[in-house]
Structures are given as C-alpha cells and as structure tokens.
Symmetry: C2
C-alpha cells in the first residue's frame, strides 16, 4: 500500500504523463515535471493520527502535478492528474510572464544549439582563440529587469574558453566578453549581447584572447602536489542506529516521514520526538541569489535555484564514501524527462549518523565523578549542482530534541571578464587575472509548518531588558519580555534585545513551570536583500526583506518565491499568502525562516570555494520537563574505543607535560 | 633546552616558590600561582625568526610569576622570580580591593569549615532535614556590589540538600534559603545571609524542608532506562596527521607553539599557515557571567571564571575515549599548591583530528566528474568545571586556513529556592518544583594578537550599501565600503550593513588583485551586557559593551577584566589599555573579540544542560592567491572505507527509491 505522502513511483509517473498526453491527442506536449500533488492537510492530519493508532484510514486518491508546454510554444499549463480515477482533473493556463523552470534536457539542447549557431561561431572566431583552445558556455536563467523582452522565456548564455584537451578544465577562469540570448520555445538566437569589461557600461572593442598565465584548475592531478593526510574512518560495527520502514524514519526518539520531490529535494512530514508532535512539514522553500553588478545583463542575474531549476532535479548522484563517512543509506528519486518518461535519479539523499562532540557533561569536583554523553546526530544530506555552484543541504537531528537545518555553499563563482589592470571594483573581487566575481547574496527560505503538541500554535518573541530602577537599585537586574505576534507578516531579529522567536502551543502548559510548551528558533542575524525595495530583484524575492515571516496555513502555499519563479515578475509568492487581517494566534500557522549569506568573494573562493556554512536551530523551550537527553548512554572508552596517540609527540621540555603510556 | 614559551616545569615551579619562601624567612607565604612570566614580545619576535632559520638566539632568562599572600592576612603581592639568576626580581603589593583568584585547596577548606561551623549547623537544624538527607554547599566568589563589605576577600556559600547515601545526587534541585558568608583570610564566618524566596526582597520564615517529588538526577543509573545506541568509532589506522616537537605543533600546513597556564588554559603562539604568519598569540582572555536577579545577594553574582578561578586550575583531567574520538594526544599542566609544591595536572588539553563534512565540491554537469574533498579539522580541547558549570573550550584549525574558536556551555545551572506556587518570574525560570534558575549572560573575550604577514597590522570594517541611483538605474546594484579603524577602542557589528571586521597588513598586497592581505572575523551578532553601564557588573566587565575592541600592543596587557578580577572594582582591565589618542593604524595591535550568550534558562537545561555553542571564525581574505585547500587529497571510498547501510531500510513503496546492493 502506497503511503499518501510517498513520492510518485516510476510507474505512477509514466501513467500520469500518459494520461496528460492522451488528453491532448492533437498536440505534442513537453513535460516539465511530474510529482506528487499532496493530499490536503485537513485529510492528512486525521490520516496520520489513525495510522499511529494502527488503524489507517482509506488512503486518498493519488494525484500527480504535471506542468507542461505545448511543444515549441509558450503555452504553459499546470495540471493535476488523478491516478486513482485515471482522469486529468484540472488544467490551468499559467498567467503570461510566468514560465516553467529549466531542465537538463533543455540545457543540453540550448548549449549544443548555441555552440553550433553560425553567428555565435562567427563571434567566437573574432577573438582568435589559440588552436588548442575552444569556447564553452553556461546557459543561465535570463532573470527579469521589468523589460518587454523579459516576458519571453529566454536563456542568457555566458561564454568561456578552455583548452580543448581538458573537458574538466576550469573555464570560469576564462570568461568571454559576449553573451548570446536564446528564446527557449523556438530555440532561436535573439541576440548576442556584448558585455562591459570596465567599471561602467562602456563596451570596448574585442581584444584577442590571451590565455592567462595559469589555468587555475581545481583538479587534483593539476596540483603541484597533494599534501599528505592520514585516513580517518568512521566505523559502526553494529550498523546504524536508525530504521526506515515504509518511508518512516525512526532514530533516537525521532519519528518522521521522509520524502523527496523534483523542486524542494528532501521534504519531512509529521516530525515528532518521543511521541510529541513538533512539525507537520519541513522543507527548504526557496532561495534567492541576487548579484550586485549594476550593469546589463548582470543586473538581471538573480537565481532562484529551487524554483528556477529544482533541488531534486539538480541533486548530485552521491557516491559511497565521498560525501559522508560511516554507515550510509541512500534514497533515489524518480524524475521525468521532457517526453514524460520516468527515470530513477540514484542516491540523491544520503542518510547517516555523525558524532558531534560532547552532548552534555558535568564533573562533581567533590567526588571527581564525571558524567558525559556524546552528541550523536542524524544527518539527511542532499547536494545540488546548479551550473557553476553547489549547495549542500542538510537536516540534522540530535539527541536533545534539536532540529538543525544547515546549508553549506561551495562550488565555483560565476565569473565575468574585466579589463587588464583593473584590481579595485566596488561591486566585485578580481579572483584571477582579468576575471571578476561579482558581489552577491544567498538568501535561503526554510518553510517550517509547526505542530507543537498539535496544530493550534502561536508565535511570540522574547526579549531581555533592564528592570526599572525602582525595582532594581543596583541597576544589574533585568527581565524577559514576551510579545505575541498577532498579524501575519514579516518580523525581524533585534540583537540589542536578544529578540528570540518561539512557536508556542498556548493550550498546553509545561507541567512543572506552567509555561506554554515551545520551540525557539536560533537564527543568525544577517543582512536582508540589499537591492532597493522598488527593484525587480526585491519584488521577486518576496521573502528576503524580513528574517521571519508567519502566515496562516493554507493548502498549496509552499513556495516563498511563487509557484513559477523563472523570470517571474513576482507577486505570486509569500506576500500573496498574507491576506489583510490574517490573524496567526492559536491557529494553524506556517513560519518562513530566512538564512542569509552576503557573499563578497575572496580570491580564496576561487577556483573552487571552501564551504561557507549557515545554520538554523529549532530547540525545545519548556516543551519537556527536563533535559530530554538524560537517557543517552554514557560516553565510555569501552564504547568508543579511542586510541592514545603518543607517536606524534617528541622533544624534551614538553615531555614533562606529555601523557606517557 | 627549554623553549622560552614553554610552561614552567615541576622543577622550575618548586625552585621558584623556594626562592619566594627564602626571600620571606620571617613570614609564612600562601602561594596562589606559579606560572611562566613571558619574555617581552620585542625579544620573542626576533627569537622566533632566528629559530625558524635554525639559528636560535640565546634564550632569555626563565622568569616565574608568583602571586602570594602572607598566610592569614590580606597582604597580597605580585612577584617575579628570575629562575636563571635565582633572584626574586620584583615584589609589588597589590592595591587594596583587588584579591587573588580562588583555588581548590581554599575551596575544600572553606567548604569543610562551613559545614562544621556551629552557627551553620544550628541554622541547618532549623529546616528539619529528613534523617536520610544532609546539607551540602557550593562556595561562590562574593562578587562586588560597591559596598564596604565587598572590599574584604569573602566567600558566598550557597547551601543545598541531598540524600546522605548519594554523594553524586544533584543537590542543585534542593537549594536552601540561607547563605553563609566567610572571610577567606581569617576563615571566620561573617554572617548567615537569609535569601529571598518570592519575587521581591521579602524574607520569609523558614519552612520545614520537604524533599520534592523527584530528585532530578543526571546519573545514568538513576534513569528509568537508557536508550539503545549503536557504537560509532573513529579509526585512524595510520595514526594522527599532526606532530608536536619541542612544543611546536605541525598539521596540514599549520605551525604553532602550544602552551598552557593556570589562568588562560591553552595559549597558542606564533601561528602560521604554509609559512605565512597569522598571529603572535591567541588565548581566551576572560569571561563575565552576570546574573539578572536584582536582589541581594544575587545582584553580586558575576563570575569571571578565568580571572576568578582559572581555566588551567579548573581544567578537567580528561579520560581517553570520553571527551573525544579517534587518536588522541593529551597534554598535562604543572600546577602549584598553596604551599608552593608543584604537581602535574594530567590530561588538561586533548588534541585530536575531526572530520567536519565536506570541505569543497564541484561537479561538472557536462562530464559528470565530481571533485570533492573533506574538511579535516585539528581540535585542541580543554574542559573546565567551575563548581556547578562546565565550559568546553576549543581551538579548531581547518585545511582552508580558517581558525575557529568554539565555546560549548554545559554543566548544571546555579539554582536558588523559590516559593511553592510561583511559576512566572521575570528574571528566571522555574526548572524544578520550588527551584529557580536566574537569567544570566556568558560573555567570552578572545584575545587575538595578530601578525598578518608580520606585526604591522590595521583593522578595517567592510560594509555593503546600495549604489547611488545615478550609477544604478535598476536599483539592484550595491557595493562594498571599507572604513579604517583609526583609534583604539570598542567597535560594534551592524547586520543591516553586513559590517565585517578584517585585520589587514597594509604593507602587503595580494599579487593578483592588489588588495591588502587580510583575515576577517566571522562573529555572531549578540547582545551586550544588559546591566546598566553605571552598575558594578558593567564596570567590572570592561570588555562586554562592544563586540570588538582594538588596542595598541603593550607587554603584560593580557586580561580584559584586569589581572585580579576576584571582587575587583574594575578599572584595571581592557579600558585601561586604551590610552588617549592611541592610534592603531599600521602598528602592532591586539583584538579583543566578544562571544556572547544570553542564557534564559529552559527547563530542558536541567538537571544538566545540553551544550549551547558559540563560534568565532578567523578566515583569510585575499591573503592567498587561490583556495588554499586545493591540495587536499580527494575524498574517495578507498580512503574513507564507508559502509553501505541497507539493513536499516524496509517496506514496500520506498523500495522503488531505495539503493539496492
């Protein structure tokens, strides 16, 4: 029996697309995706309750969401197929100005067309590449600058060069100063845009290409030498401590249903710890990556990697022992191609345990008895590659009931040419001779649909402030002040008052201290989107102007940037989920949490970038009646079997303070 | 040959204290510490240079810092002993109002005296403890409220109860409502202070003690059951990748001299990466832990755990396999007792490697070639126990030239009695029936004495702001703005502008982009000390009012709270290191970096607290000419030997998306 939240299987995808095709006998359809259309929450909540009681209700009909084009046109439809009845249930023409995400088939096709196109070939010939070099390209989403042109679905193709013999050479070290634009539906070349190479919009005459003194390769075989490093292995002699049965993950008191889709990648449902409900649904909702270069075409560069491409679509097929250590379980994701044929994308999610140091410790100095437990974590990791760039997306669960969402940014900076001799650029960093990496931001939006001891929740923020001096003669006393968030909308952190947001259940009080049970949100205070609020970049990134948004729950409101972000004019996302006078008190609510990274490139970020990481922690506050990790087995040598390392130490005067065997 | 920066050996300590005693034939001296007095930086810089060239200069005389009392008096002296000449070089009477840190001998003595004192015994008898229960106590530093009394060196002793048969019972769950105060020099009881138990200063009549319904133990044997957890082991078949020779640590391009002392715990000197100098000295300088309860005696509660007790003095003697995994090297620290006799405190610092996930990754989607390296870290860890509380202090070095200082707070909350029925308290949280944990802060001050490609450094802060609209027609463009910090003093972060502080060397430019070589400081934006600036708590915590301080380097200016923080009135610390018109441009400078934690207790923090962690990252910016981790060997299964975990997975509909062997 298929679980109502399980991803569509290969068979279901093929069936769903066949139904869509049958419904359009006279048209050739181009399938953009085929993914589970989730049952309404109002159905799923009782279903999951009944399932826990071992008396599952009748499953709802399985539905597929299938966005498609009429091939060769811009006619774009959202449709829902009922797999149980075999019917195409709804078919909605998508409003003009909204376009489907890109897919890999499309990318490869456009790339090939571009490199073969006579105008492009001619333009390449003008730069006089050496015989042993060739041009290559990165098709980019076009973005939106509010122009007429931006209403058409387009690809902006950034050009580079590399040695012919080295298909894996780092071509980002050799950007070219022109950029073809193709129309996606007709596959026609719209124009070849010349790129500014100075500090302003001036376009300069093409200079002959001179390969710079270094290729700046990140490949191991191209390094002068690799540093010696001794192996470090994680061994789990009795196997992993988690289980996954029928899609439900159980680990150290945690229980949740794990799923995947083409857009969000991993999605977790019905999350509980020791039988206490915490969330109905959690997933990364969106991401905006606006660039700071004020010139055409760069001012249009704003990637919504989830909406424009999809975290499931772009997920790496992970390899054992490369992306994590220890005992690892991989999950695959069925995807669909443009013709509607399903295929399995292997190993898109890896699941493993990590040791994250000490969990808690206390030594009684009177008796010298030390009690210590380690902090074991369960990690669900997906790595996506979006052209030049990589994101490592992780859910982490620990034994003290924390849920951490971690993002690591890595991969290669998107580069552009800059004139020889220019080293100072206010909106970018020279990372290689005649190569500029523009300043940009990454603002991630984590969607947290809480269920703190049930679905009637509220949001409060707690601050600390000095007590009035009449109650506080020595002026050292301070207190917490708690404010209820009453209206749907955006809220910000305030470090001066240590403002901390909590999701509470006002109907359930802690048995000991009578505080409402809660989870708090540990979120670093980071910069909002810098672009002016009236700019296209800001209007499209509807979530990026406040640290936290809270909305009333409504089915189908999943994507902070809107359902279709590719070249979107905005206005169909998070801000449209806020209706006038929506109250969010003791209600079914959703939080949208922003994790921001202002990326002023360092030369150290090139040719490939060491990870930058961001974490958001959800942590219980007066939810339990004591430390929920008291029952973690003690950390002991018999369990951990560590090794005393003495060989590494030598010398005289340290010997007085070195452990002897 | 003893290195000039090596800690004093057992023999050196015994020799130093014998010199002090000989110099005072007519007095009985009470030794408070005996520790290396560092050679002046002006000597050490050329010495270390010469050492690197393999032609070490003649070592300087070994000097010991020996603070001591005339036993039974408050006459307190700082003295310097020259071990090379065998002379007591200087002896300075410490100004009145400044007192020595506490030590364990003293603590045990006061504890025993208190529990035997007839008045205390009588007061205990009034509460009618059950026959199988007994009282116990935590001697606390007295703090300072500006009163006359505070000028005398005192102990404030907090009283608790526990079952007689359980010496490791969690007595913090049973605080008593009175607190003896002892004078340290004379060991006399000053008074027994009654404690308020409501929400104001009102003192209530003693109620008979009723042990609450749970003992709230953190001991494993007291838990109803321990959760099953399978072992996870770190195996390093070829041993660790680091070496320590004559006190110098080498690992993955890193080189530094590692030392320890009674006060700061670990101290690192002469830190470089791939031969490039980064810092002269790094150590945790101080820590302030002010409490928010506005009432006596709690308003005096402000611990400076390093200055008041010492990170070396209170360091745990770590046990193999309990506090870290893998191949571990331990360092010991010679300490001194009150009589001047040296002893070795074993395993106060553990050194090991950790795998911290992916270091960098890129997949070329055209060729599907993935390049990935892991992020190996070198960790130096010390864990201190200060009565109820634990701090885990870590230096972390990674392969991409980052230095991370990490603090993890754990241990047991300092508790106080509160009347039955009170659950809401503005300045604390009820964590157990009739037990309050007051709101408090932990503000750590990391001292960073930089040497970015040499000792002539400056501090700048970089911010991002919108470009003026005339250069920015689409209002999406933004730029970085860099400001030079010219005057010594305090500086703050500003998230709205992504203000980031950098230490630069204005005399060394990056060969590619001509930017000054730099290290930036990744610091979370956290709340300053909440107490009013005119309060004793604020005046004593001189460093806690700004995120970053910068001062001119001067020998001996090491401790942000002053040399002697115990009951200090303040005024002898960081703020006194700032002279009028001190400029900090292209000079030898020191940074004082604040890491703050506002601790509003959760009931989940009791009976023992799951770690809260804080990190500050020092990261190269245009210091190298490319990613310095390109030469890390690739992450591969042959190297990592991970295991495919399939046993954990079962069920039907997931099988379509589960990895098969």
């Amino acid at each position: 029996m298929v679980h109502p939240l399980a991803p569509l299987s290969i068979e279901e995808i093929n069936y769903a697309t066949s139904i869509v095709k049958k419904a359009h006998p006279d048209k050739e359809v181009l399938i953009k995706a085929c993914s589970l259309e989730e049952p309404p929450k109002a159905f799923m909540v009782p279903y999951l309750e009944a399932e826990k009681k071992g008396r599952p209700l009748l499953p709802p009909p399985r539905r597929a969401y299938v966005p498609f084009y009429y091939k060769g046109t811009s006619e774009f439809f959202d449709c829902i197929v009922n797999l149980t009845s075999g019917q195409l249930e709804t078919r909605t023409a998508v409003a003009s100005g909204f376009h489907a995400h890109l897919d890999v088939d499309e990318l490869r096709e456009i790339e090939a067309l571009c490199m073969k196109h006579p105008d492009v070939v001619a333009r390449i010939s003008t730069i006089g590449l050496p015989d042993d070099w060739e041009a290559t390209c990165d098709p980019w989403i076009f973005g939106n600058d509010g122009s007429e042109l931006a209403k058409t679905r387009l690809f902006q193709i950034f050009m580079y060069a590399r040695p012919k013999s080295q298909p894996d050479a780092n071509h980002y070290a050799h950007p070219l100063a022109f950029s073809p634009i193709f129309e996606t539906a007709t596959k026609k070349l719209v124009t070849i845009q010349e790129l500014p190479t100075g500090l302003d919009d001036t376009l300069k005459a093409t200079k002959p290409f001179v390969p710079s003194f270094v290729t700046n390769s990140y490949l191991p075989e191209d390094q002068p030498s690799l540093r010696p490093l001794k192996p470090l292995r994680v061994i789990q002699p009795e196997g992993a401590s988690y289980t996954i049965k029928d899609g439900r993950m159980e680990w150290q008191g945690w229980s949740f249903f794990v799923s995947l889709n083409y857009r969000e990648g991993p999605v977790l449902y019905d999350i509980s710890f020791k039988g206490r409900s915490i969330a109905y649904r959690m997933a990364l909702s969106d991401m905006a990556v606006p660039y700071g270069d004020p010139r055409q075409p760069y001012l249009r560069k704003e990637a919504f990697d989830l909406g424009d491409a999809g975290a499931g679509n772009t997920a790496n097929n992970l390899e054992l022992g490369c992306d994590c250590l220890g005992n690892i379980t991989y999950l695959d994701l069925p995807l669909v191609d443009a013709n509607g044929t399903a295929h399995l994308s292997k190993n898109v999610l890896c699941i493993h345990e990590e040791d994250n140091g000490i969990g808690w410790k206390h030594t009684n100095y009177r008796t010298n008895r030390a009690c210590v437990v380690r902090n074991r974590e369960l990690v669900l990791q997906t790595i996506i590659t979006v052209a030049n760039y990589e994101y490592i997306l992780m859910f982490r669960f620990n034994q003290a009931a924390d849920i951490t969402y971690e993002v690591r940014a890595t991969g290669i900076l998107s580069t552009q040419p800059i004139d020889e001799g220019i080293t100072q650029c206010p909106f970018g960093t020279v990372v290689h001779p005649q190569v500029l990496a523009a300043i940009h931001q990454h603002i991630f939006c984590l969607r947290f649909d809480p269920a703190i001891d049930g679905h009637q929740n509220s949001v409060v923020y707690q601050e600390t402030e000095l007590l009035p001096f009449d109650e506080n003669p020595y002026r050292t006393g301070y207190k917490t002040v708690t404010t209820l968030a009453e209206k749907a909308g955006g809220y910000d952190l305030n470090w001066e008052r240590n403002r901390t947001f909590k999701v509470i259940n006002p109907n359930v009080l802690n048995p000991v201290n009578k505080q409402p049970v809660a989870y708090k949100i540990h979120l670093p205070v980071t910069q909002h989107l810098v672009a002016d609020p009236t700019s296209s970049q800001s209007i499209r990134a509807e979530f990026a102007d406040h640290h936290i948004y809270v909305t009333k729950y409504r089915d189908g409101e999943l994507f902070a940037g809107g359902k279709h972000t590719n070249q979107s004019p905005g206005g169909a996302g998070l801000k449209s989920f806020i209706r006038p006078n929506d109250r969010i008190v003791n209600d079914d609510i959703v939080l949208w949490i922003q994790m921001g990274l202002q990326h002023v490139p360092r030369i150290e970020d090139f040719p490939v970038m060491p990870i930058e990481d961001l974490k958001c922690v959800l942590r219980p506050v007066n939810f339990f009646d004591k430390n929920p990790a008291l029952d973690v087995p003690p950390s002991s040598q018999s369990f951990n079997k560590s090794t005393l390392e003495t060989g590494a130490v030598s010398g005289t005067e340290m010997s007085s303070c070195c452990q002897k065997l």
